[in-house]
């Protein structure tokens, strides 16, 4: 049943792409919130723009990991033990970042608050940086022996190409976060993030172009860009241009496409491999040699086919409910509605109109 293996590879890739798009703007906002907000209220507006949805977005990572566990146990085993210390940092970052949302406001003490603010900022930096590095490493190749165990140490994980992949994805998260904030804020804060988003767009475009070049020339995956690479390049340049010219809704959509296609391109180049061995290509982990037997894949396919669309529906609905721009406490009563380009996704209408509007 090579067939289902391939489908599950695509599903795993979709989870990673979805994670980097959805949690990508959360990371961007997390990294930027202290820097774009000049006052306490502005910082809090920035964080509250992701407040209702970051937790659900983060589950994409968990499901990406768990899907690898169930569908490709060998891949899960090799990957998670290989990146042991890197994943430790990711976990610590996920912990302090996740807790910061809830704990930050709970005690009115400047040191307490600044500690949690830094937890959010640094957590949002390290997670995409390290996970991006790990994805780059998968493609670049690591010393893996015939029994699929990693034979290097922590420093062997710091492959230049992997690190650059991490930087690329982190910068794309920053850009996406800034583009997201332009859709969620008003007044001075909005103007500030709009200018920032315009500048970050070109930085992201240059870095992404470099990454695409490195993937093709450095990893000799061929000179002709594959369709996903082409999409990444068009999307990131388009996003930068749109952000600068002020089409914020489209800029966000294009930036999301860009980060999604960069992640997608890693998986596209990997296939049919899932982890490349730099020791010997015969030791590569592939969709064939690391997958679960077909019965498990069938069961998981049924579960995914039933539940994944439902997840998309209610996550889309939650983005829709909180689509409005967030205003400061000055206009306490109600926030001004966002423009039609404001909502990132709005697949369904809520069954009951929101109260008090």
């Amino acid at each position: 049943m090579v067939h289902l293996n391939n489908i599950w590879f695509v599903i795993v890739a979709i989870f990673w792409v979805g994670f980097f798009i959805l949690e990508g703007f959360d990371f961007g906002v997390g990294m930027l919130h202290s820097f774009v907000g000049k006052t306490d209220v502005e910082c809090r507006i920035a964080v509250n723009s992701i407040g209702p949805t970051w937790d659900g977005n983060e589950v994409w990572l968990i499901v990406a990991g768990a899907a690898i566990f169930a569908a490709f146990p060998s891949w899960y085993a090799t990957m998670f033990s290989t990146f042991y210390l890197a994943l430790l940092v990711v976990l610590l970052a996920l912990i302090v970042r996740g807790v910061s949302f809830e704990f930050h406001r709970k005690i009115d003490n400047p040191r307490w608050r600044s500690a949690w603010r830094w937890s959010l900022t640094l957590g949002s930096l390290f997670i995409p940086l390290l996970l991006g590095t790990a994805l780059g490493d998968l493609l670049h190749g690591l010393p893996i022996n015939s029994s699929h165990n990693y034979t290097g140490n922590f420093f062997d994980l710091l492959v230049p190409y992997g690190l650059y992949t991490g930087v690329t994805l982190t910068v794309l998260c920053l850009f996406l976060g800034a583009a997201y904030l332009t859709l969620k804020t008003e007044g001075e804060l909005h103007d500030r993030v709009a200018r920032l988003s315009g500048r970050l767009g070109w930085v992201a475009a240059v870095i992404t172009f470099g990454w695409l070049t490195w993937s093709h020339v450095g990893l000799s995956t061929g000179f002709v860009p594959n369709p996903i690479d082409a999409l990444a390049l068009i999307a990131v340049v388009g996003a930068a241009w749109l952000a600068e010219s002020g089409s914020q809704g489209w800029a966000f959509a294009a930036a999301a496409t860009a980060i999604g296609s960069v992640v997608g391109s890693i998986f596209f180049e990997l296939f049919p491999r899932v982890m490349v061995s730099s020791t010997n290509s015969a030791y590569n982990l592939t969709v064939a040699n690391s997958a679960s037997p077909s019965y498990t894949l069938k069961v998981m396919t049924v579960v995914a086919v039933i539940f994944f669309p439902v997840v998309l529906l209610y996550q889309g609905w939650s983005l829709y409910i909180f689509r409005k721009r967030i205003s400061g406490p000055a206009s306490t009563t109600e926030a001004t509605p966002a423009g039609p380009d404001g909502a990132p996704t709005a697949p369904i209408r809520p069954p009951v109109p929101a109260a008090g509007e």
Partner: protein, 483 residues
């Protein structure tokens, strides 16, 4: 050495994780009950109570969720041989948990926190019930996976001697799972109810918002009493089931070295037997009770450790198949005796409710806040009993823990991660307990609380009676200030 360290790390992180899980599941259920009361009778006191205990719930969820991520990663990080060997079976429920339950819980929790003024009352109430249901569903998949380690089912061994899933339903009809899952859910309700009771009692003792906290005290006792009694029965049935599939676990829990043919006495307390309790000098016993507990019959036979060890050597080859007897014996007793204590406490509470003196019962209200420690000790002891009792197996009869660790992870790696987790978890624990106590001692807004029944709330207006001046509630209504 690396295996021992990896075990220490897994035990530390999962015990810590499970301090928060039962509070989350139990308290989410109780908060949903409070919000349902508010929805039904429009009494603003119930809205305040929902927000009050909702805050405590969220403080716990924050730590519970993020420490759960560690568990999900650790199988691959520390136990890669295990993950490779059984991932096609064990990974299934974990992936289902993420896709079916965790997405639901996280998404609707976010909507619930931020949705007070965005959603209709009914839809907002639905959100908290979805969160409650999803947290219980989450536990269902995790317990199915865990029960498979205690009693593997639904697989065949393939030509390479690897287990291969053949029947996913078997995981969810596994007799160990069928008893262990309700056991965990009821333990969570017990934990949540005791937490709610503890804070309610603290306020009642100080005569703050008496009318409101009397309600939550009564609600929590009424959830606690049936949950703890039902759970003692379910726990003893789980013991019988485990005695059948993991006889070592039960024999070690009784420190029973030689097989007892019938009418086996239950040792209430024994000392002087050393770590393995082989020859205790002092022993207090109840006749026949062990036979009843282990087999449901007073004349049932209970196998001894020495006998089982000889059988296992014959079946699986040379090795030590006896788990740590000290942990088993005392884990079982700490769990069971605390459960009995909690049951007595719940009866006391019921008696006070019947006499309508719960809100004035000095001793009860004095003890209740301190009593909050008991469910955590009970839950931890229960997990030690069930997981340590599985040793030396990581999957009973299929794979030993000693073969399961990651070959590429060094002991230095684990020292680094273990120290990092311990340091971070300690500081988070201190912060969490501090916040719980700090927010648990805050007063409800008095003008709203003792206003009495449905009349106070007026019509169906969601917020009109609430427009008070408190900074807390002000912040909650301005989306910009929730964080």
């Amino acid at each position: 050495m690396t295996t021992d360290l990896a075990r220490w790390q897994f035990a530390t992180t999962s015990i810590y994780h499970f301090l928060f899980v039962p509070v989350t599941i139990g308290l989410a259920f109780l908060v949903a009950l409070l919000q349902t009361s508010w929805y039904r009778n429009d009494n603003p006191a119930f809205k305040r109570l929902t927000k009050f205990f909702g805050t405590l719930l969220l403080i716990n969820v924050a730590v519970g969720v993020v420490t759960g991520l560690v568990q999900e990663f650790e199988f691959g990080m520390n136990w890669s041989n295990y993950s490779r060997f059984v991932g096609n079976i064990f990974g299934g429920p974990l992936a289902m948990e993420g896709l079916v339950a965790f997405f639901l819980e996280s998404t609707f929790l976010g909507i619930w926190i931020f949705g007070w003024d965005r959603l209709s009352k009914k839809l907002h109430l639905t959100c908290i019930w979805l969160v409650t249901g999803a947290s219980m569903l989450s536990a269902l998949f995790i317990m199915a996976a865990n029960s498979w380690m205690q009693h593997p089912v639904g697989y065949v061994m393939n030509s390479q001697h690897e287990p291969q899933l053949t029947d996913i339903w078997a995981l969810f009809t596994n007799p160990v799972f069928l008893w262990a899952y309700p056991h965990v859910i009821l333990a969570s309700l017990v934990t949540g109810a005791i937490i709610m009771l503890a804070f309610s009692a603290w306020h009642l003792k100080r005569k703050s918002s008496v009318a409101a906290f009397r309600r939550t005290a009564i609600i929590s006792v009424c959830v606690l009493a049936p949950a703890v009694f039902l759970n003692m029965f379910i726990g003893s049935e789980l013991g019988v089931v485990e005695g059948k599939y993991q006889p070592m676990k039960i024999a070690a829990a009784e420190a029973l070295w030689t097989t007892c043919d019938s009418h086996c006495p239950f040792s209430i307390f024994q000392i002087g037997g050393g770590n393995n309790d082989e020859t205790p000098t002092q022993i207090w016993e109840v006749p026949d009770l062990l036979s009843i507990l282990a087999t449901n019959h007073p004349d049932g036979e209970v196998q001894g450790l020495n006998n089982l060890q000889a059988q296992y050597v014959k079946e699986y080859g040379p090795g030590n198949y006896i788990p740590n007897v000290f942990i088993q014996y005392w884990g079982m007793r700490v769990m069971a005796y605390l459960a009995a204590l909690i049951a007595l406490f719940a009866l006391w509470g019921l008696w006070l409710i019947r006499r309508k003196t719960l809100a004035k019962a000095k001793w009860f209200l004095f003890i209740a806040p301190w009593f909050a420690i008991t469910p955590f000790l009970m839950n931890t002891a229960g997990w030690l009993l069930t997981e340590s009792g599985r040793q030396p197996w990581i999957v009973q009869g299929l794979m030993k823990t000693s073969q399961a660790a990651s070959p590429s992870v060094t002991s230095t790696d684990i020292w680094i991660s273990l120290s990092a987790f311990v340091l971070l978890y300690l500081s988070l624990g201190v912060a969490d307990v501090y916040l719980m106590i700090h927010y648990g001692r805050k007063e409800l807004e008095p003008s709203l609380v003792d206003g009495g029944g449905g009349g106070g709330g007026g019509g169906g207006g969601t917020d009109q009676p609430e427009s008070s001046s408190s900074a807390e509630s002000e912040d909650d209504r301005v989306p910009a200030l929730i964080y």
